[in-house]
Amino acid sequence: MKTNHPEQLLSFYVDNELAEEERREISEHLASCESCRLALEELRALRVRIREAADVSLPDNFVYSVLRSARREQENSVVWISTERFARNVVVVLSVLVLMLVGLGTFLRSEPPIRVDRYLITEPTDTLAGQVLGTQGEISKDVMVYAVLTK
């Protein structure tokens, strides 16, 4: 035995988790060591005392109150899932409607292209405005603004 008082092995000993050889060695040690015998007694007492302390019992109707609460929770979750699904569908429909309205609004509000007089085509062809005017003869308001700003 490496140590005089093999505390850790005593812990395994009390749990029957030692190999036969080690168990025999500990038994031999215990026969001659009062301090370890006392430690072993304490370890055994500990288990008994913990089990004695665990004396809580639940009410007689515990099973039924669990079932009642579990069923209620399940019913609530079914209602919640249906509500959630309904709300999700409403959101999808509303989103589609909003997108359609925005699209329609944009279409109705779009301004006709600006007709540009021929003299403007004299713009140098290396500018954006010049390129657009030279090829199309008409441009949108946004492109016109961009062309002016980048000129």
């Binding site: 812990s11 007492a45 500990l46 005392r49 913990i50 099973v63 079932l67």
Partner: protein
């Protein structure tokens, strides 16, 4: 004599809609769950509510239980997670309420003054409380392993499987937990052994 169904049969029956099977699961493990909550938290106040919450969670998620561990190991893990959440909540409550400390201390003092010291029953209860209080002084990891070993009587392998740790870690934690308990119960053992 009527054959009592095993856990697997009960779970299967409940999945097929037999609520009596669930009642049997609750009856089978309610006492263990209540006591593990009591020993983990060290207070009887929350035992009823938390035990109920454990079995509601079991009811809710038993459909996903795969039998990769025993039914009780699975229920135990649910109970332990719930206890950990409760401990965290308590810590937060304690931190934000200084009154909590003062009130509890005053209540404790009042109770100890009112306590009839001659009653055997009270003495017995007090001695149990000494053990429960000593368990509370352990770190949660040490408390869990020692309860699984001493109260649930699980083998080292079963504990390792339940807590998802190695057998070596189980061995060393059990040893340390016992050493700490022996140290804090030194006077208690001196009186009783």
């Amino acid at each position: 004599m009527e054959h009592s169904p095993d856990d697997f049969q009960l779970v299967e029956a409940f999945r097929k809609g037999d609520e009596k099977a669930f009642e049997e699961i609750v009856r089978r493990y309610q006492r263990q769950v209540a006591n593990i909550i009591y020993l983990t938290l060290g207070s009887r106040e929350e035992v009823d509510d938390l035990s109920q919450e454990v079995f509601i969670r079991v009811y809710r998620s038993i459909g996903r239980f795969q039998f990769d561990a025993s039914l009780y190991s699975w229920i135990y893990r649910i109970a332990v997670n719930l206890c950990i959440d409760e401990v965290r909540r308590k810590k937060i409550r304690k931190a934000i309420s200084l009154e909590f400390f003062t009130e509890r201390r005053l209540e404790g003092e009042k109770r100890s003054k009112e306590r009839p010291t001659a009653s055997d029953e009270v003495t017995k209860e007090e001695k149990k409380k000494v053990i429960v209080d000593a368990l509370q002084k352990l770190s949660p990891v040490h408390r869990m392993v020692i309860l699984l070993r001493e109260y649930e009587d699980m083998s080292y392998e079963e504990i390792a499987e339940t807590l998802h740790i190695s057998t070596q870690a189980v061995k060393s934690r059990i040893f340390r937990a016992r050493e700490e308990l022996r140290k804090s119960l030194k006077d208690y053992f001196k009186e009783r052994l």
